[in-house]
Amino acid sequence: MISVQSLTRVYGSHKALDAVSFEIQKGEVVGFLGPNGAGKTTTLRILAGYLPPSSGTARVAGFDVVRDSIEVRKRIGYLPEAVPLYRELRVEEMLRFHARLHGMERERTRRRIGEVLEQVQLADRSSQLVGNLSRGLRQRAGLAVALLPEPEVLILDEPTSGLDPIQRLEVRALLAELARRHTVIVSSHILPEIEAVCPRVIIVAKGRIAADGTREALVRQLGGASHVRLEAVVGPDVAKAKALLASIAGVSQVVDGGRVGIHHGFDLVCDSDLREDAGALAAARGWALRELSWRTPSLEQIFARIALSDGIGEASGGTGGSTSGVARTDAATSPAVALAGARLEFELRATPATAAAPAAAPAAISGAAQAKPKVVYNLNPFDGGARRDLGKPKAIDGGSAERKEP
């Protein structure tokens, strides 16, 4: 249904998308996950026919988004993040306008308006002015507009942004229902939303695809090892304690987690849950045990890792299984970044399970690493309205606007 090949989008000399490729089959529900500025909105805009790509191709429902743009637009329902609706119109009028733009006949329009308002539960507010709706209701109205022409593909850009938790749950339920009948792409920077609705996730960062596949596949391939976390008072000889722990059967590696007060933390990398063994050892040695827990990798961790670092390992485990699973590393362009005070859960090293090249950017765990300001490009050229020089990055959180080149 959707096929994207080497899609690139360049603003000035800045690449918002860098050779992105993926495929989505009919009926799939895919989540686009990535931090702000990763290129999610750009990709969706290209698919919707709003932006033209600088190079590469994208096909939706069998039509090229550049050459047959109008055909593509007839078959998609697009809901941008800003939920653009004419505020002076009533909900019903907005729906009717949308129907007219799509060339729907009057009978079908009437029927569809009723159905779609039922679907988003706005039937009682059909004659209210759009401008008078709350944000959540307006979101639902936008969804109704997108659904009206019974599109083959639904493209939703941050459908839950700005909503309170209850509204988010409602939208999630709605999406889950829609997922049954349409091909859906949802983009978000909030992982739980994606996790709840989309079986397949594409993670983008810095304009490239970092991961593409079902949740389980990703966790399996990129998640890093599961480990037992042990915090106890081990006495002065830390190295001995470490060797002792390493001697437990099944433990492949022991990572020194550093000292916290009088306790010392260890991460025991192992395949299975060896808490009992570790606990028995601690009891035998008389260590005062503070914590003993079994940590498995989650998508959240993968996402955090990808989002915070520039390391990009691409392993595609998509259900279609068509794209090549070439992992690229770009050690040259990924400066060492560490957030002062943050602690990564585990070392960033490729797991033995994948044959992929090791992800770059070693984590500096101790606080001795220099703190560099985090600089993220805001790639939305329509932000601020005025023509901006995209050669100069605009910092999002803190830090200076200058970026030191490697």
Binding site: L51, R73, A82, P84, G385
Partner: protein, 249 residues
């Protein structure tokens, strides 16, 4: 082709409805109708009851007509593209199955339709005069109205272009008003200079003269109709390309 017209007319309807849902349009309409009505009576008195002359004043011989023609379209069109872009509505229109040209044409048609309504006050005056017993020259009245609509169309197209070029409505309105003032006072500049080639060049694009000498007196001349159509199309084309360029920005 049919799809183009369908999209165009859908956008036309919505824009026109949108125009009338805001207070600006009604304010302008009331001001224009009252002003034109008042001035019509003044013209009647000064022309000693010559109804054709008075109607001609209302349709193009007076400064008030040109002031309204130059100032109203920018106020109508200033928000059509620039503010919609800010609100994200342009993204909505440009991802709907309508071409950019249909979007521009639909908005243009809505603005021009509103101006046609403004000028219909002249038709009302002609009707009143007829009811008072003196039949005006209806050929000249219709010609004057058609010419006024064509002039307004040209100014709406320039307003749309200015709106497409910037993201701030005020800047768009300002730019369009400046452009219109230049167009209107161009023939006056022609009398300041002695160079013949400048005068002839100005005479070719003299909008005032092309309206007053032909449409206003009841003559539909294809050459002057073509003049308005060609230049309006030029500005609309520029506006469409400018809209396209936004996707690349």
């Amino acid at each position: 082709m049919l799809g183009f017209l369908r999209g165009c007319s859908a956008i036309w309807r919505r824009e026109l409805a949108g125009i009338f849902m805001g207070p600006l349009a009604w304010t302008l309409l009331v001001i224009a109708i009252a002003l034109q009505g008042l001035l019509f009576l003044v013209y009647l008195k000064t022309s000693q009851g010559d109804v054709d002359l008075a109607l001609r004043f209302g349709f193009g011989e007076s400064w008030a007509f040109w002031a309204l023609a130059a100032l109203f379209p920018p106020l109508l069109t200033m928000r059509m593209i620039s503010e919609e872009s800010r609100l994200g509505l342009l993204e909505y229109l440009l991802t709907a199955p309508v071409s950019d040209a249909a979007v521009v044409l639909g908005k243009f048609a809505a603005a021009t339709s509103f101006m046609a309504l403004v000028w219909s006050s002249g038709l009302l005056h002609a009707l009143l005069v007829q009811a008072a017993g003196v039949a005006p020259d209806w050929g000249a009245v219709w010609g004057g109205w058609i010419g006024a609509v064509l002039v307004s169309g040209l100014f709406c197209a320039t307003g749309l272009l200015c709106s497409a070029l910037t993201n701030t409505p005020v800047v768009a309105a300002f730019g369009a008003i400046v452009l219109h003032i230049v167009i209107v006072i161009l023939p006056l500049l022609s009398s300041l200079t002695e160079a013949r080639w400048i005068q002839e060049a100005i005479a070719r694009v003299d909008v005032l003269d092309h309206h007053k000498a032909t449409f206003l007196v009841g003559v539909l001349d294809s050459a002057y109709l073509g003049f308005f159509v060609v230049w309006t199309a030029l500005f609309l084309y520029a506006a469409t390309r400018s809209l396209e360029a936004r996707r690349w920005r």
